[in-house]
Symmetry: C2
Subunit: 350 residues, 2 copies
């Protein structure tokens, strides 16, 4: 059985589950699969917005279309936006060769997209009014050997865990990159400096905490408005907090360089706005690394920007997966009061 679920693809043949039109969502699990009893779907924001607008906010029609999609495709992938979401549920059966380490009864959140997760609904989504992206649901879903699911910890509120798990790739990769710089230096030259653009957000605050744990000597969080500046400063997650428009390369690089005293060894971009590439490159020291986590990043702008600035920087596409990423993010929420306060304030405001 394919670890990436090729055996579940019905049409077109030979593509990956994410690219497939239709998956086989039958409940019997292969030896390397896991079946989840689904308790809630969290629809991707873009997907729910499209459905909402198409149906003018008519919950019954939105529900009917979601049911239709899942029945037709064997997964919840909005055919217009292409996006999915994630789900919460309980492990119902784990194949004996599943490498995921899950046990029957574990309450889990999937960290791979619904766009590639076989799914069947059993209750007609009867408990959902169709007017929220949070969908109470009885049904089942299948995880492959290379799927990812995180056990929801008993000591954290599920909403808090989910908020952290949603962005858990960012702190994991930030820590890995910063550790490499710290390991590569000695003595005074070992002072590794890190800038996080969008430092007050979910991925940003976790990345700041991760950078410090990884041994960064000096960190700066860049934020766009005074309210975020005050919140991040109060959280105590960065050595400096500065205001700058990340889309203005000169302003951004000046702000970072002034706050750190030098350009950053590692710059982490967590701002979901287009046009931050050149500023991030310019804020980074020669030999440094820029990690792009924003989905608004333009590949061409990053590549051509660095070339145009003759900047010898390594630029990473932020991978949402790294081994241990879920546990690391949850541990930061547990152990860093500043991170927790920012997350709780954000959840309260939602």
């Amino acid at each position: 059985m394919s670890p990436v679920g090729l055996h579940r693809v019905l049409e077109p043949a030979g593509v990956l589950p994410q690219g497939a039109w239709r998956l086989d969502a039958s409940p019997a699990v292969a030896p390397n699969e896991v079946r989840i009893r689904v308790e809630r779907l969290n629809l991707d924001a873009a997907s729910f917005r499209q459905l909402w607008e198409k149906h003018g906010g008519d919950g019954a029609r939105i529900r009917a279309e979601v049911l239709e999609i899942i029945a037709a495709r064997g997964k919840m992938q909005n055919p217009v936006t292409g996006s999915g979401g994630m789900l919460i549920g309980t492990v119902e059966e784990a194949g004996r060769r599943s490498p995921l380490g899950l046990r029957v009864g574990d309450r889990v959140a999937t960290l791979v997209s619904l766009t590639l997760t076989p799914l069947a609904v059993a209750d007609g989504l009867a408990r959902w009014d169709g007017r929220s992206a949070q969908v109470p649901c009885d049904g089942h879903a299948i995880l492959f050997a290379r799927s990812i699911a995180a056990v929801l910890p008993g000591d954290l509120h599920p909403e808090l865990s989910l908020a952290a798990l949603d962005v858990c790739g960012a702190p994991a990769l930030t820590a890995r990159v910063v550790e490499r710089y710290v390991a590569g230096r000695e003595g005074a030259a070992g002072q590794v400096s890190v800038a996080v653009i969008g430092g007050a957000g979910k991925s940003g605050s976790l990345s700041l905490a991760a950078a410090r744990r990884a041994g960064a000597a000096r960190t700066v969080g860049v934020v766009p408005v005074a309210g975020e500046r005050d919140a991040l400063a109060a959280a105590g997650l960065a050595d400096a907090v500065v205001l700058a428009d990340a889309r203005d390369p000169v302003a951004l690089s000046t702000a970072v360089t002034s706050a750190l005293g030098v350009p950053a060894d590692v710059t982490v971009v967590c701002v979901d706005a287009p046009g931050c590439e050149h500023g991030a490159v310019l804020a980074t020291a020669d030999g440094g690394t820029v990690v792009f986590f924003s989905m608004a990043t333009s590949f061409a702008a990053a590549a051509l920007g660095a070339e145009g600035l003759a900047a010898d920087v390594t630029m990473l596409v932020g991978n949402g997966y790294a081994p241990g990423h879920a546990e690391f993010a949850l541990d930061l929420v547990r152990g860093e009061p500043g991170v927790r306060r920012l997350f709780e304030a954000r959840l309260a405001a939602d």
Copy 2:
């Protein structure tokens, strides 16, 4: 004086030269600048195509618009496509603090885009018929401290040098990444394997040669058609050459893994087609690196694809600049007969 040329930006104030509407192209050089006597402009293909289509192939009108753009903007940046090109010329004056190492009389090609290069035309482009992207031109251009220009070597045909310089970032970064893997291993585990997708093209063939020089134990070049397979096999640059559609993730990863015996430690994507991200990720071993050089790369497809496959791979945005990149590429063209044959065949076909 700003090393990235901020002092040459006339409007809007405060942006980088690439983002500016208008630059100051006056000929007097600052201590860290260099003035080039221009001999030819190579317009970017997308820019020339737009001009050609707009004016229905009328050379006189195309020439008039290029003159207008340069006069209005102080640089040759097509306002519709946003793209520029590069130029060839001779160093006329080098400021005493220029770090570029150029001497008066050096014949150079600029490796930074015309979109950020101050430029003035002196001859009204009188020798250009407006019907080719190669523009004979008398005029001057300014290089900043962080611009890049390569001295054209006397022992290679200028067209051959230009073709190599155009993609010289790819072999430099490939070598750097492969060297890191080679250095990090020992003994039998030290067998580093490299896949180059689009291995018969300019950047692909240079990357294959670079990977081998950097110590790769086994390399595979993936190509889309039989003609390229035969040409690349004859060039002897890869241990294996295989046919596969890089947009088909399963086909691509199967082809690479079969040819190498294992997934690649380093996968280099040089195919200018959209949709190659998932296949490249799937073809790469856990702990491996994918280097994306194709401008058709989708940032989101790469990021979400790796996450959806739970692939612990490092993904790099191919930076067109690295120290020594021009010399390294020219040296590969000189020293690797297979690279040279592929380049010469390509130039002959153009």
